[in-house]
């Protein structure tokens, strides 16, 4: 069993799986049970300032998108930050941290964009003994209308300013949680770094409407006939989150800034992927909300098995391994040529590859009278669409052509040398290859 212990910003946890700030971490009862179930740490549900807490709607707050067999792929919510009094939360945090000293305890905060507000709350958070704070600059609904959450997260200058206050009035690690509801995530990340953030975490939820009730003509989840956009999360957002993570990881300005990866982590593999893209750990919300705390068992066993198989002895060793391979399109090797190949033993003759290729792509799959499907190498551009639509995993594979072979589509010999768009003759801005 590989060692899953992680050290993120000096905060140790027995594994890299933390629960993200959300309902699973909203109270002592939940967090204790989460720790008993084996989670490495939690980011407590976002706290607001002293005074009357926010109120939530009293009707449905979630909407969902399903895959086959009603598998939950995406969840959207219109929940706000904690609706329980600050004092109660702080007392609970203190008690739980004292009882679970080996687990990471991070307190998520969202208070108005005024120095005094932060000055007031930070000492009280420090008194709980928690290991660090996470600034919620991400919540896309309800709070941003009040000038908090995503409203701050969309303005890099505010992020920098608030982060600086936090570093000034709090002496443990400060993590800045980023909103994806922005065009270029590198900007807020860089701002956080300038403000002195120890790390960024991302993503928070994405503005979304999951469905419209066509009888009442109101978006879901609808409250008394009206709906509001909510925050989208779950497996469906993982690709967006990973892209954003990789942008920050490979941006020279923020390269090396620790990242806590969030967004759709559901299995060990998701976690390994986030980690390979530069995350020091991952946070999970929807998977726990869908399957319960026990889901972490699979994440731990799977990550550990995979690390053993690959010979990695610590999570640290995996962090950022894939980052050097994330590049811009223009640097991809245009001399790499592949062809789709259908394994006839695995093929169940459904014809989906044919429909996809014939109707919408390159007419590169032939269908015989007896429903045998074969790739026409003369036409195949290796787009991968057939692979993606085939219901049988690994039935269609992409086979790389070897240098020296002739690509039957272009009639050209496959070159051994790497060559990209920047030097391609069709590129008006091409520079001569050195």
């Amino acid at each position: 069993m590989a060692d899953l212990t992680t050290d993120f910003l000096g905060i140790k946890s027995p594994n890299p799986f933390w629960l993200a700030s959300a309902p699973p971490t909203d109270k002592e009862y939940n967090v204790r049970r989460a720790f008993e179930a084996g989670w490495g740490g939690v980011v407590w549900k976002t706290l607001g300032s002293e005074g009357p807490p926010v109120v939530n709607v009293n009707g449905p707050r979630y909407g969902a998108i399903y895959g086959a067999d009603r598998r939950l792929l995406g969840l959207n919510n219109i929940e706000l930050i904690t609706d329980r009094p600050l004092e109660v939360n702080l007392e609970e945090i203190t008690r739980v941290k004292a009882d679970y000293p080996d687990r990471a305890m991070i307190v998520s905060l969202m208070v108005p964009c005024e120095e005094q507000a932060w000055k007031d709350i930070l000492p009280r958070v420090a008194a709980t003994g928690a290991d660090g704070i996470e600034l919620n600059f991400g919540c896309p609904h309800g709070m941003s209308e009040r000038g908090m959450g995503a409203a701050v997260g969309q303005v890099p200058e505010y992020i920098e300013m608030v982060t600086r206050w936090c570093k000034q009035y709090y002496d443990k690690p400060v993590i800045v949680k980023l909103t994806p509801n922005i065009t270029d995530v590198r900007k807020p990340a860089a701002a956080a770094m300038r403000g002195g953030a120890d790390a960024v975490s991302l993503i928070n939820t994405i503005n979304s409407i999951t469905s419209v009730n066509l009888d009442t003509m109101s978006p879901e989840p609808s409250i008394d006939g009206k709906g509001s956009h909510g925050g989208y999360c779950g497996p469906a957002v993982k690709p967006i989150a990973m892209s954003m993570v990789s942008e920050i990881a490979r941006n020279p300005e923020t390269h090396g800034l620790p990242i806590s990866g969030i967004g759709g982590v559901t299995t060990w593999r998701d976690a390994a992927e986030f980690i390979s893209l530069g995350c020091g750990n991952v946070q999970v919300c929807t998977a726990a909300m869908t399957y319960g705390f026990k889901i972490v068992d699979e994440m731990k066993s799977g990550l550990s098995q995979w690390m053993d198989e690959k010979g990695y002895t610590s999570v640290e060793e995996v962090v950022g391994r894939a980052v050097p391979n994330v590049t811009d399109w223009q640097y991809l090797n245009l001399n790499y040529v592949a062809k789709a190949k259908i394994n006839q033993d695995d093929c169940i003759k459904c014809g989906r590859c044919y429909a996809a290729c014939e109707d919408t792509s390159h007419q590169a799959i032939a269908m015989s009278q007896d429903r045998t499907f074969t790739v026409i190498d003369e036409e195949c551009v290796a787009c991968n669409l057939c692979v993606d639509v085939c219901p049988v995993e690994n039935c269609i594979t992409m086979e790389a052509m070897q240098p020296g072979e002739v690509d039957p589509r272009t009639g050209k010999v496959v070159e051994k040398e790497y060559a990209n768009w920047t030097t391609h003759p069709n590129n008006p801005g091409a520079v001569a290859a050195e």
Partner: protein, 444 residues
């Protein structure tokens, strides 16, 4: 070569390749694609009913999820943590009465998640890849005797060895495995799986098996208790009940378990004789197995005669259907009264029965069936009670297999409580081991 029509008891009724086909896996192993699709159907239920229904409490939702995330080896560990004979159980458990009956998708769609086959997929994957997945704790220097190398004894021995104890298993037979080796239907344990599993299990170290040692003959209970601070009995039910009908001693009349044992040990199925007209007396798993395997060997007519009605039959509906699908005739409310024949059996005479609520009675009406072979499958009994107190016809136990004698535990078929199933034997052996461990280490 003979044929199914050849009268009497004859070998080679079917050609070799037909026999080989007949005795391959009842449920073929899942191919990777099939496993992925089957695993995808699991809902990862909370406090899952399938787990409650598994006598060894395997964390089924977890192992299925581990399969679907591409780590069947981790899935196998989840299984073996609870049930070290998870490989055999995946093949022989009557899942239709256990985990799969409880699966919520049985309720929803009448099609449970295929837990048994997924379990086999995981355990086969690990066993093919890795010798033995557990490390033994440092040696404790404590010695334990286990009598019986069936599933109960093996599970007990493994758990004890894992905790660092030094285990000696004694078995009366020349081979370990108990009914896994000698009793389970051949199409459930193919490719010598029982023996391969025992070898793999012994990979833990710290277990010595001594065969040809029978308690009550070569071995004495008092000696064992004198030499070992803890003794576990997993001797099963080796005895067979008598039919008590006239003519029972005729040639061609034998115990079903003996026949199955010969079949399981046969290196060449074409050399194994079977009758043309076979009648099996009984209503349990053994009756079904004897009947089905007779049919698969090429018997022309095979009848199971059971003295009660269909609902009282202990063989599950699934097993009854299996037998029917292989061409076995199921006859209900028929009890044997006489076996006819001159030296060898030629006919069996059965009396119809009825039960009006005051107990089963013969109606006086009889019929005769042609029979050149009759198998008795009317229940097994203890071969030795080791001088322990009994409850009914089994060794009385309380808690985790504690018998009436201090320092002696029992589990599996020979002990009171629980169904006579491989998986129950494993659970009882494992739990007794934990109790023995606690006792030896002085925490109890």
């Amino acid at each position: 070569m003979s044929s199914p029509m050849t009268p009497g008891i004859a070998a080679a009724r079917l050609p070799e390749d037909t026999l080989a086909k007949n005795f391959t896996d009842l449920h073929a192993p899942l191919a990777p694609h099939e496993a992925a699709v089957a695993a995808d159907r699991c809902y990862f239920c909370h406090d899952a009913p399938c787990v409650t229904a598994c006598p060894t409490d395997i964390d089924i939702p977890l192992f299925i999820r581990q399969i679907s995330t591409g780590t069947p080896e981790a899935a196998a560990k989840t299984i073996f943590d609870q049930n070290i004979l998870g490989g055999m159980c995946a093949r022989v458990c009557p899942t239709e009465d256990l985990c799969e009956q409880a699966c919520v998708r049985e309720l929803a769609e009448g099609k449970p998640v295929e837990i048994g086959r997924l379990q086999r997929h995981a355990t086969d994957t690990l066993m093919a890849k890795q010798r033995h997945p557990y490390d033994r704790a440092p040696e404790t220097g404590k010695k334990v005797a286990v009598v019986g190398a069936g599933p109960a004894g093996l599970a007990c021995a493994h758990r004890l060895a894992m905790h660092g104890h030094d285990v000696t298993i004694y078995d009366a037979e020349a081979k370990a495995g108990g009914l896994n080796e000698f009793g389970i239907a051949a199409y459930k344990s193919t490719d010598d799986f029982a023996a391969r599993e025992v070898d793999w299990l012994l990979g833990i170290g710290g277990i010595t098996i001594k065969t040809g040692m029978r308690l009550g003959a070569e071995l004495k209970m008092d000696d064992l208790v004198g030499c070992f601070p803890a003794v576990f009995l997993g001797v099963g039910l080796g005895g067979v009940n008598a039919l008590r009908s006239a003519g029972e001693d005729k040639d061609g009349v034998r115990d079903a378990v003996g026949f199955i044992k010969d079949l399981r040990q046969a290196s060449d199925l074409t050399a194994l004789p079977v009758g043309r007209d076979v009648v099996v007396i009984g209503g349990g798993m053994t009756a079904i197995d004897a009947a089905v395997q007779s049919k698969l060997l090429g018997a022309q007519n095979v009848t199971i005669a059971y003295r009660r009605g269909r609902n009282a039959m202990s063989a599950s509906t699934y097993e009854q259907d299996l037998a029917a699908s292989k061409g076995v005739r199921l006859m209900f409310n028929a009890q044997p009264v006489a076996i006819h024949g001159n030296g060898a059996v030629r006919e069996i005479e059965l009396e119809h029965t009825s039960d009006d609520g005051t107990g089963l009675k013969g109606t006086g009406e009889t019929i005769r069936l042609a029979a050149d072979q009759v198998f008795k499958a009317i229940g097994q009994t203890l071969t030795t009670d080791g001088g322990l107190e009994l409850e009914g016809r089994k060794i009385a136990v309380t808690g985790a297999g504690r018998t009436s004698r201090a320092g002696v535990w029992a589990g599996g078929d020979c002990a009171s409580g629980g169904d006579d199933l491989t998986v129950t034997a494993v659970a009882e052996g494992r739990d007794a081991a934990m109790d023995i461990h606690a006792t030896l280490m002085g925490s109890k």
